[in-house]
């Protein structure tokens, strides 16, 4: 069933406003998505009718807040097919989730001479924590290279695992720049065969396609609520046995079982990793976002984005000075499966200027390196422009983009 985009847009109050007198065309959901009434309402309801601190109070309101908070955790767990809600750790964002693994598991297990393998297409969030862990420990950081078409060179992985020194393999499930969907299940299989831990960055994938952590074969998966119609919270999913054996990342209230003058014992998973008062209303809001996305259907969302992105690629081909990053076609010329992201550059026109002129038309795109500087280095580009699509975008938005790019060429083309 195709998405009823007009009806979906009605659910997002932000589309009532105009930008520079024009209809808002929001093409930057890969950075952060807009919020539907259901999510805003769930948070407002919490604050107006059901707010108290969780896991502490013995009064009705506290018990209600705790139940709503834990119900949201269970929804999030079902959304990614986690085996147990206890495997869901609420954090600030995907970045914090990945840092949690790097600091907790990494500090405990990585030693001098070990190796950490990541890919060249990683967002800084799944790169800098590993780079810095490697530097702290005197470990080696190695990259699986990416070719011009945006494909991972999987042949590079087995040699990096052969000597048994690799302890962690970290990989994005979906690139935030190249639109590529790396073969992560294969990466996980190869890495596990060599005894390495597999950490996946799901920030781009979880909002846009069905994700089943058990089928992925990952040990950890981090993602952000704010990219999936939810508020500013994030999630770390980890296998229970791993989380259970890991030391805490942050210390304080709620993460302890008992505290004496000179020692403390830790609470059980996941509370061991949720020190201090969590973002209660936001987690409840993320639960509402999960309900909202489930009602539309993740398969339908993925299919919708494929359709929009292929339409965008076809229309961008009308502009010869536009060059799309990553190939849209496979070896036999077949259309490749892509996420709803199109990054591009234009001959002799800086991405900043593209973004500014598009803004005049009410069109929001990202311009820069999209937190993927090493990837842009590989592609020999200082920066690029990126349009990303979600449930509230349709062909009209693509047409508006193309028309505005013609204007860019008219103003800035030599």
């Amino acid at each position: 069933m195709p998405l009823d985009v007009a009806a979906i847009r009605q659910e997002f109050p932000i589309f009532e406003r105009k930008i520079n007198g024009k209809r808002l065309v929001f093409l930057d959901s890969a950075a952060s998505s807009q919020k539907p009434r259901a999510v805003i309402g769930a948070m407002m309801h919490t604050y107006m009718h059901g707010y108290a601190n969780v896991h502490r109070g013995l009064y009705t309101l506290a018990e209600e807040a705790t139940a709503a908070y834990e119900e949201a955790r269970a929804k999030i767990a079902r959304f990614i097919n986690a085996a147990d809600p206890a495997e869901i750790v609420n954090v600030r964002n995907a970045t914090e989730g990945l840092n949690l693994v790097a600091y907790s598991w990494g500090e405990a297990h990585i030693q001098a001479g070990d190796r950490i393998v990541i890919t060249e297409l990683e967002h800084h969030a799944n790169l800098v924590p590993w780079q810095q862990l490697a530097l702290r420990k005197g470990a080696e950081l190695a990259y699986i290279p990416v070719d011009e078409a945006g494909e991972l060179d999987l042949n590079a992985l087995p040699p990096l695992l052969a000597d048994g020194r690799t302890k962690i393999v970290a990989c994005s499930v979906m690139s935030n720049v190249l639109s590529a969907l790396p073969p992560v299940t294969q990466v996980a299989e190869i890495a596990h065969d060599a005894g390495a831990l597999v950490v996946m960055d799901g920030a781009q994938a979880v909002p846009h396609q069905p994700v089943d952590v058990q089928a992925l074969g990952a040990d950890f998966l981090a993602f952000s609520g704010h990219k999936m119609c939810g508020p500013g919270v994030g999630v770390l999913w980890g296998r229970y046995d791993l989380l259970d054996a890991m030391p805490p990342f942050l210390y304080g209230g709620d993460m302890i079982r008992t505290v004496k003058h000179d020692y403390a014992k830790w609470n059980e998973v996941p509370y061991k990793f949720e020190a201090g008062t969590p973002a209660i209303a936001e987690v409840i809001g993320l639960g509402a976002a999960v309900d909202f996305l489930n009602a539309i259907g993740m398969e339908a969302i993925h299919a919708h984005e494929q359709e929009i992105v292929n339409y965008a690629l076809a229309r961008l081909a009308e502009l010869p000075m536009v060059h799309v990053l990553g190939s849209g076609k496979g070896e036999r010329g077949e259309l490749r499966e892509r996420s709803g992201v199109v990054s591009f550059w234009m001959d002799n026109i800086h991405p900043h200027d593209i973004a500014t002129i598009l803004d005049d038309e009410g069109i929001c795109i990202r311009a820069g390196h999209h937190c993927a500087q090493p990837l842009h280095e590989c592609l020999n580009l200082p920066a690029s422009a990126r349009a990303s699509f979600y449930i509230y975008n349709d062909r009209d938005d693509v047409d508006a983009l193309i028309e505005a790019l013609h204007k860019v060429v008219k103003i800035l083309g030599k």
Partner: protein
């Protein structure tokens, strides 16, 4: 309206920049970039016997704002004392660019040549 940024005057400087190139025997010779957007400038300058800016040239790549700002800057700072350069800020750069109002995200682009000059003068020991 941001289209204001793309008025004829700035586009002229962008497409046909003034003093594009590198000075020989420069007192100031510096490369600076905006890593967040990939704008890059190589600025060279000579001082006269009284310590004022005598000549400035630049080369580089970047957006309309950074490149037009650099082109206009090479003329604008000629004859200024180093104290005058040190005191320059965003207001003067916006004025220099014909009174444009820059959004927060574009301020860094416009300031790239000025920041390069200040840094270059520091490196050369003149400031």
């Amino acid at each position: 309206m941001s289209s204001d940024l793309y008025r004829e005057q700035l586009l002229d400087h962008y497409h046909n920049p003034d003093h594009f190139g590198v000075l020989d025997d420069a007192d100031v010779d510096i490369e600076m970039d905006n890593p967040t957007c990939g704008d890059m400038i190589h600025l060279t300058a000579r001082l006269d016997s009284t310590g004022r800016i005598a000549e400035v040239m630049f080369e580089g790549q970047g957006c309309v704002i950074s490149m037009a700002s650099a082109s206009m800057f090479t003329e604008h700072v000629k004859g200024k004392t180093l104290e005058e350069v040190a005191a320059m800020g965003l207001a003067e750069i916006q004025e220099m660019m014909g009174g444009v109002k820059l959004s927060m995200g574009r301020v860094k682009c416009a300031l790239l040549p000025l920041n390069a000059m200040k840094e270059g003068l520091k490196e050369s020991g003149d400031l």
